[in-house]
């Protein structure tokens, strides 16, 4: 039986990569992802993980090396954060369009400037349209579980897409938490070997990363889009299989005391647990409040989201990223669009906060929820509210 122990989340995530028996890790260290790749480098150097660790000179090279590695059919992992994710930006599109099942942990970090090494979701939102499957995790256990699931999803021959596992920089990566690391044989049973259908092979040569003139580009992109959309049912299938094997259940939109709630707060990532405490506190004060948490960011879970909010009067959404000059937080904007044509939908209030590592306390979330309820009643002159800024 797997034992529960206290461990730093970055180390736990690296140990999960070891359990998947990854073949190649190509990564460049960047705060707050550093401990993940440091620990993986140690595991490889100590002979505990039989993998090639490629210490590249930049994140652009890290992702490029991952393309080559994944194209041979090797199980491939990398990790990055913030500016590193931006530096590999153009290669991310190539990974998804070439349908390479790379798994990447992203220790979410604010983008410069001003220079910040601390956490928020501006890096996530900048890579929204890269065609990767994107999953938010909330705590150390989820970081382990979703890293393992990510390989099975990515490598499933009905999917064959790269997967990002988003975990908040510092607020999650650097926490020591009690987690259960699964046993290696259980992971091996859950995660079959990677069987990429058309790998680079001298015996059966193929050409990858080809040129598409206007006559075929639209067809190529539509094939990719259909495939990403269809991946949702397989993601759900993998999570159901994971529950059967390990007893922990995951959903694309998670719920907390939301069934009968008139007001819902929506969060992503590690701030979700703090918001849950605020929901408890407001419930004690007699407010009809609940929470939904967005786990699956891409492909977007339209059905599950619509079902989750259909009985609520007010939906308050906290984004940890700004869309400068735009209509609100990026997640909120998408949710407004997803609900616009629904006959029955809640009023939506957009908050942006928790940027550049700024913490939001339980009292802060209570304030966001109550202020959100007031705005839903009275309206606001603003497109969105900024939380916690000093006037």
């Amino acid at each position: 039986m797997a034992k529960r122990k206290g461990i730093e989340v970055s180390i736990a995530l690296s140990d999960a990569v070891k359990l998947t028996n990854a073949d190649v890790i190509a990564a460049y260290p960047i705060t707050p992802q550093t401990h993940i790749v440091e620990h993986l480098a140690e595991l490889v150097a100590n002979g505990e993980l039989d993998a090639a660790f490629i210490p590249v000179e930049s994140e652009h090279s890290a992702m490029s090396a991952c393309l080559g590695s994944s194209a041979t059919g090797a199980r491939t992992f990398t990790a990055t954060a913030g500016q590193g994710l931006e530096l590999m930006h153009e290669v991310l599109y190539v990974a998804s369009s070439m349908r390479l099942p790379i798994v990447m942990a992203v220790a979410n970090r604010a983008l410069s400037g001003p220079l910040s090494v601390w956490g928020d979701h501006s890096d996530v939102m900048a890579v929204r349209d890269t065609g990767w499957i994107q999953i938010f995790v909330e705590n150390g256990q989820e970081a382990i579980d979703h890293t393992i699931c990510a390989f099975r999803i990515a490598e499933d021959n009905r999917v064959l897409l790269p997967v990002m596992v988003h975990l908040d920089g510092f607020h999650l990566t650097h926490m020591i938490e009690p987690v259960t690391l699964p046993e290696e044989e259980d992971v091996s049973r859950f995660l079959p070997p990677n069987r990429y259908p058309l790998p680079l092979d001298p015996v059966k040569p193929v050409a990858m990363g080809d040129f598409a003139p206007p006559v075929i580009y639209t067809e190529a992109k539509w094939a990719q889009e259909i495939n990403l959309r269809n991946s949702k049912s397989i993601i759900l299938e993998v999570w159901r299989e994971f529950e059967k094997a390990f007893g922990r259940k995951y959903l694309p939109v998670e719920h907390y005391r939301s069934e009968d709630a008139k007001t819902l707060i929506m969060t992503m990532g590690s701030f979700s647990e703090t918001a849950s405490l605020a929901v408890d506190s407001l419930r004690q004060k007699g407010e009809s409040v609940g929470q939904i948490k967005l786990r699956l960011w891409r492909p977007f879970p339209f059905k599950e989201l619509r079902d989750a909010v259909k009985n609520a009067d007010t939906l308050v959404i906290l984004d940890r990223a700004l869309s400068y000059g735009g209509p609100g937080g990026p997640v909120c904007t998408e949710i407004r669009a997803a609900l616009y044509n629904e006959a029955k939908k809640p009023k939506i209030v957009s908050f942006v906060g928790g940027m550049g590592g700024r913490d939001i306390s339980v009292a802060g979330f209570e304030q966001i929820i109550t202020q959100g309820m007031e705005i839903a009643r009275k309206g606001s002159p603003n497109e969105y509210e900024i939380f916690g800024v000093r006037e």
Partner: protein, 98 residues
């Protein structure tokens, strides 16, 4: 890759990740279509040395039945390197006209 031409292929016909499994299909493209100049020849001056063929970056120059070297205009980009390198000035580049 199916035998359909690109213009006939639907999104369902595309191999996973747009992988090309059949070698040599780039020959389907007539890549000389956007040439702005083309080579013309005065074969009476040609000594059949083959220098133009060696220098051609496109690899589109072959010997014809009489042994003279000539560019395949389906692939010639009109760069003029052959004309520049020809020691006996056989090749003259002229403007393509609509």
């Amino acid at each position: 890759m199916p035998k359909k031409t690109e213009a006939e292929m639907t999104w369902k016909d595309i191999e996973v990740g747009c992988i090309v499994t059949e070698p040599g299909n780039a020959a389907q493209y007539k890549t000389g279509a956007w040439r702005s100049q083309r080579p013309t020849y005065t074969f009476s001056r040609c000594i059949k040395c083959g220098i133009c063929q060696m220098y051609c970056p496109e690899g589109c120059i072959t010997q014809n039945k009489e042994g003279f070297f000539e560019a395949n205009l389906d692939y010639c980009k009109g760069c003029g390197i052959c004309a520049k390198e020809c020691p006996t000035r056989v090749i003259n580049m002229v403007e393509e006209e609509e």
